[in-house]
């Protein structure tokens, strides 16, 4: 097993709203090995982006607050770092690209200046060296006429091009970890494919670990080694990508996979999980998914299920897989498996 680049342990993040504190990330733990791509999947509002911003320590505070746990980067807890030391890590060891390429670049500065900035901050370069490296980065992310684009402003570029620029900024300092927060969500499908190809190519070239946040399981299947499925601030299932797609355990994962359109079957309606993610802080006891789960048992609304270890590297947070109940609830489990459409 390679050394982990990132090790998140029992991370809790709270936001204050109307005077009371609500936990939006509730004790999540996972790790990312060197060069590994980990997908973090879940519906909007499940705490994916908050988790990624917590790693960068960029949670807007107040109202946000990291209220517990550890974030170990190469064995050092980022939560203990001084702001000054944290700044040396941001953009250099860990960098981030965002969902909205249209608004993520500063409209009044040239593209070149915005790539140079990160190099000048971390790499001890002078302006000439930074310029050369920036143009090199623009070429690396497949931008034609790099020298000319270097002096352009963001408004002269399309969304796909801007996301390439963001990737260039993210990778300029050769980080150990790149956090990609839904980098393709805002793009056209054809551009999405190009950007994913680019990221995959660069990952093979640079061996950067990637934390890939998305709600698109298709993207996960294409990009990731491991998948973490989040629901309402908790991890409900994690496994390597093959296991998750072939043998999903948690009813939520099953539902997510079921809601993917399939080419070989003609479907009039797409399957969807009924209901919505409960707002943080509204579920007082029991499983947070119980209200939407088709296999809900009396126990589910009473006791919060722990993350159960099913086999090495595959965990699910569901009472269906509790050993003590295995015999009793075996029937229910079979229904769970049968309810799932073939992947």
């Amino acid at each position: 097993m390679t050394e982990n680049v990132l090790d998140i342990q029992d991370l809790e993040v709270s936001f204050k709203s109307d005077g009371k504190e609500v936990k939006v990330v509730n004790g999540i733990s996972f790790s990312i090995g060197a060069g590994e791509t980990v997908g973090v999947v879940g519906e909007s509002g499940c705490g994916k982006s908050v988790t990624s911003l917590s790693i960068m320590r960029l949670i807007p505070s107040p109202p946000g607050r990291i209220s517990g746990g550890k974030i170990l980067y190469k064995g050092e807890n980022l939560l203990d770092k001084k702001e000054r030391d944290m700044r040396k890590i941001r953009g250099n060891d860990i960098s981030m690209i965002f969902q909205e390429p249209m608004t993520s670049l500063n409209p009044v500065f040239t593209i070149g200046r915005q790539i140079d900035e990160v190099l000048l901050l971390h790499k001890n370069m002078n302006r000439t060296q930074a310029r050369r490296k920036s143009i090199e980065m623009l070429e690396l992310v497949g931008i034609p006429r790099a020298e000319q684009i270097y002096d352009s402003h963001p408004f002269e570029l399309s969304g796909g091009m801007r996301q390439r620029v963001m990737i260039a900024i993210g990778l300029a300092c050769e980080p150990q970890l790149l956090i990609a927060d839904e980098p393709t969500t805002a793009l056209d499908v054809t551009i999405q494919a190009q950007i994913l190809d680019l990221m995959r190519g660069l990952k093979n070239k640079t061996n950067t670990a990637i934390m890939f946040i998305t709600h698109d399981l298709g993207v996960v299947a294409e990009m990731c080694d491991k998948v973490v499925v989040m629901y309402s601030g908790e991890i409900v299932e994690q496994a390597d990508v093959d296991t998750l797609f072939n043998d999903p355990k948690h009813p939520y994962t099953v539902g997510l996979l079921g809601s993917l359109p399939k080419v070989e079957e003609k479907q009039d309606r797409l399957f969807s999980i009924k209901g919505q993610v409960p707002p943080p802080g509204t579920v007082e006891k029991g499983c947070r998914f119980a209200g939407r789960c088709s296999h809900v048992m009396p126990r589910c609304t009473e006791e919060d299920p722990p993350l159960l270890k099913l086999k090495d590297g595959h965990d699910a947070r569901c009472w269906l897989y509790d050993d003590q109940f295995k015999g009793k609830e075996a029937g229910a489990r079979d229904t769970a498996a049968a309810g799932r459409k073939e992947p």
Binding site: M56, L58, R87, K88, I89, R90, G91, N92, S95, M96, F98, E100, T103, S104, L105, N106, P107, V108, F109, T110, E117, V118, L121, H122, H153, F155, M166, I169
Partner: protein, 307 residues
């Protein structure tokens, strides 16, 4: 760029033309007889008639207007003051410098105080500094200028004796009037800067800058401010027009020999040529400031092209 400026300058011609008509009518249709005001009611009918005809008041208004325009455009002559017989243009040029220095210094205070307090209020939002700043701006906006000027004069000139009470001559004479004139605009700029900075701080590219590991100071002063100042510049430009109006009051309070006090004296004595010239000049200033604001956009916002 040059073409843009030329086009805008040409565009000013019809506007100024309309302003001459309005100011001419405004002045001539206002009740009050300049000759009676100047020489008193007791001059005899014959003298009155001579003076009346000398100023050309017996002609119909369109003829008088035509004469005014021909004198101005063909001979570059803005007429003579009824009161002093001095050439209006000479007097205006002499006083213009005083008003220019006063308004520019006021604007300097307004921008200096306005932008810095605005940034502090925005970055330390809801702190004691922010609250204090907001209360002060409300207060500043509510106080009339003449009263604020008199209070400053009372405290710093009369009681403490740090500055001269009124008049001109040294840099110290300029300080109280410029602060009086600038404080209202400063308050407006504080509020504008604050809300603009707060808005820009929520932008995604600010988060990007932080994610690069940039220092918070640089994030604010470079990434945020450059964007936040675009609307502030427009507003400050418009406030310049407000300053010209404010100068009229403040110059009167501090006996500052600029155009503002000149305008008040001229209105009181129905000194038509002076009033008309000053209205035209103030309008021209306003147009030129607007043009300068538009040009400055190009430096602040790369998306703007002058074509």
């Amino acid at each position: 760029m040059l073409q843009f400026v030329l086009r805008r300058l040409i565009g000013m011609v019809p506007i100024l033309f309309i302003i001459t008509i309005i100011s001419f009518l405004f002045v001539h249709l206002t009740p009050g007889d300049p000759i009676r005001i100047m020489y008193g009611a007791e001059i005899d009918q014959e003298t009155y008639q001579t003076l009346y005809e000398r100023e050309g008041f017996h002609d119909p208004l369109p003829v008088q207007y035509g004469r005014y325009m021909v004198d101005m455009l063909v001979h570059g002559d803005f007429g003579q003051s009824y009161r002093t017989r001095a050439d209006v243009s000479e007097e205006v040029v002499r006083r213009f410098g005083y008003t220019a220095v006063l308004t520019i210094l006021s604007m300097f205070w307004a921008i200096l105080i306005g932008v810095s307090v605005g940034i502090i209020s925005a970055t330390k939002r809801n702190s004691i500094w922010d609250r204090a700043g907001m209360v002060s701006t409300i207060t500043a906006l509510s106080i009339p200028e003449f009263w604020f000027g008199l209070m400053l004069m009372q405290i710093f000139a009369v009681q403490l004796g740090w500055f001269p009470t009124s008049g001109s001559g040294t840099i110290w004479h300029l300080l109280l009037p410029s602060i009086t004139l600038g404080f209202g605009v400063a308050a407006t700029i504080v509020r504008f800067t604050r809300s603009s900075v707060l808005e820009v701080m929520r932008e995604d590219y600010v988060r990007t800058a932080r994610a690069k590991g940039q220092k918070e100071r640089v994030v604010i002063w470079s990434h945020v401010l450059r964007n936040a100042l675009i609307p502030v510049v427009t507003m400050a430009g418009l406030q310049f027009g407000f300053l010209i109006g404010g100068a009229v009051v403040v110059e009167q309070v501090f006996a500052w020999p600029g155009l503002g006090s000149y305008l008040i004296d001229s209105i009181l004595s129905r000194d038509y040529p002076v009033i008309q010239a000053l209205i035209l000049l103030f309008s021209l200033q306003f147009l030129i400031i607007n043009l300068l604001v538009d040009i400055s956009y190009g430096f602040l916002n790369p998306q703007i092209r002058y074509d």
